[in-house]
Amino acid sequence: MAPATNNVDLFENLRLELRRGSLVLAVLAALREEQYGYALRKTLSEHSLEVDENTLYPLLRRLETQGLLASQWREESKRDRRFYRLSPEGKQILKQLLAEWRAIDSSLTAIAKE
């Protein structure tokens, strides 16, 4: 029983590690359209990328500090919400990251076939 449990844990850890690297890309790509935090979580979730709020919001702040995102507080549905969108610099980086992602995908696909 123990090895099976360990394998499940191991797989889960590796899966999280794999997805963690892709999260920045997913967030940047999703923010080509302006969204507030909770809506962004829902968008990612609809694409099978569940992100917990304690990961997403600090990441959004970091990306904004790095100049890849811009944000503003605005009232919507009678509540103040912070809306994020990709900055011009973020658009540039996203383009480069997507190219890198496709290159990795293509390499992995080729290696997995061998």
Binding site: G37, Y38, R41, E53, N54, T55, Y57, P58, R61, R79
Partner: protein
């Protein structure tokens, strides 16, 4: 919604002042959006228990706040293994020696102290030294951690300056040659000048000196032989490590006995006898400490040499490169 306010307030406590309002407003908005969505799905207001469950799922306030703080550590992951490595040596290199020095000094200052009082004082001092040592090492590594981003000393390294791969069983030939020369020089000097009963024209020795004369002479001769063997075959074996342990123990025991043997003839000069005896009495506790250190080193060598070693085989370095 008192429970949510309390939760947000608890998070706020840990956040940096210049960001707290912004972060709390965003978390608050996220919580309310989540509650609103769940209420809309259920078609009713969430109960206090359900809100409590929802907050619990988000994590404890300090954990949530921690995700917004920059990653900080007193000693970072690169230095931490080195820190642990240094701490392993702290007991034998600092705590025990300092405690030994304290014990000897304590006995000098409080000659009337009982053994129990001395042990109690030594144990108390042991803890003080342990915490002081731990504090010093921790502060030193915290300072290194602080300096690293400015000096990049961990990145500035040179493969050529890495220590050479050393066989722990290897005995340095130069050390053996030096020991052999010293021992060979001592033997004729010892025989010529320390035979007794009169030394250097003014010091008269008791007949007991004969034991020390021959004892030290035999040990010196054995050490000379030992050094000669190590010069020809420069590596430790268990037998040689044991021989060194026995020889050093015998020599130390003889030396301690010498300090206590009252070897100076008091009838031929009481003042000088008293002076030398006072010096020997004060030397004795320090000699005991040195003896224990030598014994510990020799014993460690026996244990180390008798363990199997995993060395990088020479064939690997030469064949694969």
């Amino acid at each position: 919604m008192d429970i949510i306010d309390r939760y947000l307030h608890a998070i706020e406590f840990w956040l940096p002042n210049n960001q707290k309002r912004d972060i709390i407003a965003e978390i608050s908005e996220d919580i309310h959006s989540q509650i609103e969505e769940q209420q809309s799905q259920l078609g009713r207001t969430l109960s206090q228990d359900e809100i409590e469950t929802l907050l619990k799922q988000r994590g404890s306030p300090v954990l949530v706040a921690n995700r917004y703080l920059p990653q900080r550590s007193l000693i970072g992951p690169v230095l931490f293994p080195i820190y642990l490595f240094v701490l392993r040596f702290l007991p034998m290199s600092y705590v025990v020696p300092m405690c030994a020095i304290f014990t000897v000094t304590y006995r000098e200052v409080h000659p009337a102290a009982t053994l129990g009082q001395t042990i109690a004082a030594a144990v108390g001092n042991l803890w003080t030294n342990a915490f002081v040592g731990l504090g010093i090492v921790t502060l030193a590594f915290a300072a290194l951690q602080w300096l690293e981003p400015q000096t990049h000393f961990l990145s500035n390294w040179n493969p050529r300056k890495l220590p050479a791969v050393r066989n722990p069983r290897q005995i340095s030939r130069s050390t053996s040659a030096f020991e052999l020369a010293i021992n060979l020089a001592i033997i004729p000097w010892w025989i010529a000048y320390l035979r007794g009963p009169q030394l250097f024209g003014f010091l008269w020795l008791m007949p007991v000196w004969n034991y020390f004369f021959w004892g030290f002479l035999v040990i010196t001769a054995l050490n000379a032989t030992f050094s000669a063997v190590c010069l020809i075959r420069p590596y430790w074996t268990t037998l040689r490590a044991l021989a060194r342990l026995v020889s050093d123990s015998f020599g130390s025991a003889l030396f301690l006995w010498l300090l206590r043997a009252d070897v100076i003839d008091a009838t031929r000069g009481p003042d000088l006898h008293n002076l030398i005896q006072t010096i020997l009495d004060h030397t004795f506790p320090w000699a005991v400490i040195v003896t224990l250190v030598i014994f510990a080193v020799d014993l460690y060598r026996v244990i180390r040499v008798s363990r199997p070693h995993d060395l990088v085989p020479h064939s690997l370095s030469s064949a694969s490169l």
